[in-house]
């Protein structure tokens, strides 16, 4: 039986790991390599790293840091943040990452996605969609660290990305990020039904029950965890951790 993937998603800011709330203020979490070592020791199934300032700073991914991370990791790794070209994707995948995560560049040019998928297979490309509720509680796709509304609906954008050849979609609710209040099950359900590629739920997970809910009710193929894996409890101190195997199995089977 294929296990539902439960993926700690770690945010990189320069060369440190941080955690944000609603894409805003950040807290230091620790050293990327040491944290990867801990997740290795915890036998976590997969990790995702997102560099939250690469696009804003218009710079390349930090390949040195990625190399350090890849040499520590003995599980599948994804990287996102400032990936704008096939060339960059190639470098990252050759370093030892399984997948690249594409966000900003897709708004200008979907063909980058197609190019990467053609060379490396669609399973190597994850499209990242960040969305927020705008007026009248209508969700809209946002872009960039300044969270600009794009006018696109989540469903329509997801379909466009699927057509471009992505292997998976990482769907992040900005409003729920860092809130421990549960995933946006309704949205996940809509998107999972509309596309045939796996959807990874992200934003708001606060408990193992939330994981069960979004998979069983929302149809998420995988879940990304943020706050839950880096804090002891909501509102309390930093503590790198991963849900107990038994607890995961009990909600996912």
């Amino acid at each position: 039986m294929l296990r539902t993937r439960v993926i700690p998603t770690l945010l990189l800011r320069n060369e440190s790991l941080v955690k944000t709330k609603k894409f805003g203020r950040f807290t230091y979490i620790g050293d990327p390599c040491n944290t990867v070592r801990i997740f290795n020791e915890l036998e976590v199934d997969e990790l995702m790293f997102l560099d939250i300032t690469a696009t804003k700073e218009c710079r390349d991914p930090n390949y040195e840091l990625l190399k350090d991370i890849a040499t520590e990791c003995f599980m599948p790794l994804s990287y996102g943040g400032g990936v704008r070209s096939l060339e960059q994707a190639r470098k990252i995948l050759n370093i030892g990452f399984e997948k690249v995560c594409i966000n900003s560049v897709a708004f200008a040019d979907l063909s980058v996605i197609t190019a990467i998928a053609n060379e490396f297979g669609s399973q190597a490309v994850v499209a990242s969609i960040d969305y927020k509720l705008r007026f009248w509680r209508k969700p809209e796709v946002i872009k960039g660290s300044n969270q600009k509304y794009t006018g696109k609906s989540v469903l329509a954008w997801a379909k466009d990305l699927e057509s471009a050849g992505v292997g998976e979609i990482l769907l992040t609710s900005v409003d729920r990020e860092g809130t421990w209040s549960g995933y946006d099950i309704e949205m996940i359900k809509k998107v999972a039904a509309a596309v045939s590629v796996p959807v990874i739920a992200h934003g708001g997970c606060g408990s193992v029950e939330h994981i069960g809910d979004v998979v069983n009710q929302g149809g998420a193929s995988a879940v990304a965890l943020g706050s839950m894996v880096v804090f002891q409890k909501e509102g309390m101190g930093v503590l790198v951790n991963y849900p107990d195997e038994e607890n995961l199995v009990s909600v996912l089977s």
Partner: protein, 388 residues
């Protein structure tokens, strides 16, 4: 056997300390000054006796009274290690409402984080942490290596205290519990392992390249603020009670799922490096004698057993050294330069030592009032003789 110069090797008749330890003296019975100091502390704190029970109960009552109406009444510093984990459990047993506080120096192993997680979860205790920026942490560690001082992990020790005190202030808590036990650990002899905020700052200023923004330094000003203005009480409860580490570990494993990491401070990669590589290889110092001597004194081990363990050189993990080099961006050449470079001590840097000595009467009063640990007074407020 000749040790250094013309000194003959002299061993304590009670524990396994010998005269290679600086500032260690022996009395007419051949008992070392550390053993005698321990005797004095046992008497003073009534460890494991009625006196100790009574003194501790008074403290517990004070903690409860001072914490009325607040979410937490005491701060317990945790590291994932035996002492602090056990202390947390004891605090609950005593009817207190602790806040667990951890200083994350970004070098934790999974055993440390998992132990903290399991213990706080099963005891249902909240955790507050301060995480230093890892690049700053690396810059400080690199500075210490290039400085060539023995106290490789001094920044963590100092940072830990500052974080505890800061957390206590943030939540309006007066009492700080720390898990040191002079019975199980002994007192690190005067002259070795010097730590203070000025020392850490000077080493970093001279050999580092970044500004300190997130490192929680315990400067003199901070120290006096916590002690005189906030009047925080720094308590070491394990000094008052019978404390057996093996029993503590058994209890923890059975009741919380806590896991033993194999040796003193080996739950953190930085302190593991300090204890298994830096100190033995650079300074010919093996701090296992602290625990071993303590075991001998309390009758857990014979001197022969302890000596046998101690005579076996401490095991270093080559993978850990590779990790350190990778993390601190040191080439093999850099590392060799560091390992063969000049050695220095606290005497080569700015410290608060003289100030502490001058203020000895004040610190005596503060120690008696539990505003600073008595061990601090004994170690810092007396001049240290120069060693050869």
């Amino acid at each position: 056997m000749v040790v250094s110069g013309d000194k003959e090797l002299m061993k304590c008749t009670r524990c396994i300390y010998d005269n290679r330890i600086p500032n260690l003296t022996f009395d007419a019975e051949g008992v070392c000054s550390s053993c005698r100091q321990l005797e004095m502390l046992l008497e003073q704190y009534g460890t494991g006796k009625e006196k100790g029970k009574r003194l501790l109960q008074e403290i517990i009552d004070d903690v409860k009274a001072a914490g009325k109406g607040k979410t937490y009444d005491c701060v317990v510093g945790v590291s994932g290690g035996t002492d602090s984990s056990f202390l947390l459990a004891k605090a609950l047993e005593w009817g207190l409402r602790p806040l667990a506080v951890h200083y994350d120096n970004t070098w934790n192993s999974a055993i440390a984080t998992e132990n903290i997680r399991k213990v706080t979860a099963s005891l249902d205790v909240d955790l507050d942490t301060h995480v230093v920026d890892n690049k700053e942490a690396d810059d400080i560690k690199r500075a210490f290596l290039y400085a060539g001082v023995a106290e490789f992990d001094a920044d963590t020790d100092i940072g830990f205290v500052q974080v505890l005190r800061t957390a206590a202030a943030k939540y309006g808590i007066k009492y700080i519990f720390e898990g040191h036990s002079f019975v199980t650990e002994g007192l690190s002899p005067v002259g070795s392992n010097y730590l203070d905020g000025a020392y850490v700052a000077d080493i970093h200023d001279r050999f580092g390249s970044m500004k300190r923004k997130t490192f929680p330094n315990l400067t003199f000003y901070q120290f006096m603020k916590w002690v005189l203005l906030y009047r925080q009480k720094f308590i070491r409860p394990l000094w008052y009670i019978d404390y057996d580490k093996d029993e503590a570990r058994r209890w923890l494993t059975e009741n919380t799922g806590w896991v033993y990491y194999g040796g003193h401070h080996l739950e953190n990669r930085a302190s593991t490096y300090a204890h298994t590589v830096w100190l033995p290889q650079r300074f010919n110092t093996d701090y296992r004698n602290l625990t071993l001597a303590a075991n001998v004194r309390s009758g857990k081990m014979s001197t022969t057993e302890a000596q046998a363990i101690y005579d076996e050189p401490v095991k270093a993990d080559p993978e850990l050294i590779e990790y350190l080099k990778k993390r601190l961006r040191l080439s093999e050449r850099n590392y060799q330069e560091i390992m063969t470079g000049p050695k220095r001590s606290f005497r080569d840097f700015k410290t608060y030592k003289k100030r502490f000595e001058l203020l000895r009467p004040l610190f005596y009063i503060l120690a008696k009032a539990n505003l600073v640990p008595m061990s601090f007074y004994l170690k810092y407020c007396f001049p240290i003789e120069e060693t050869g």
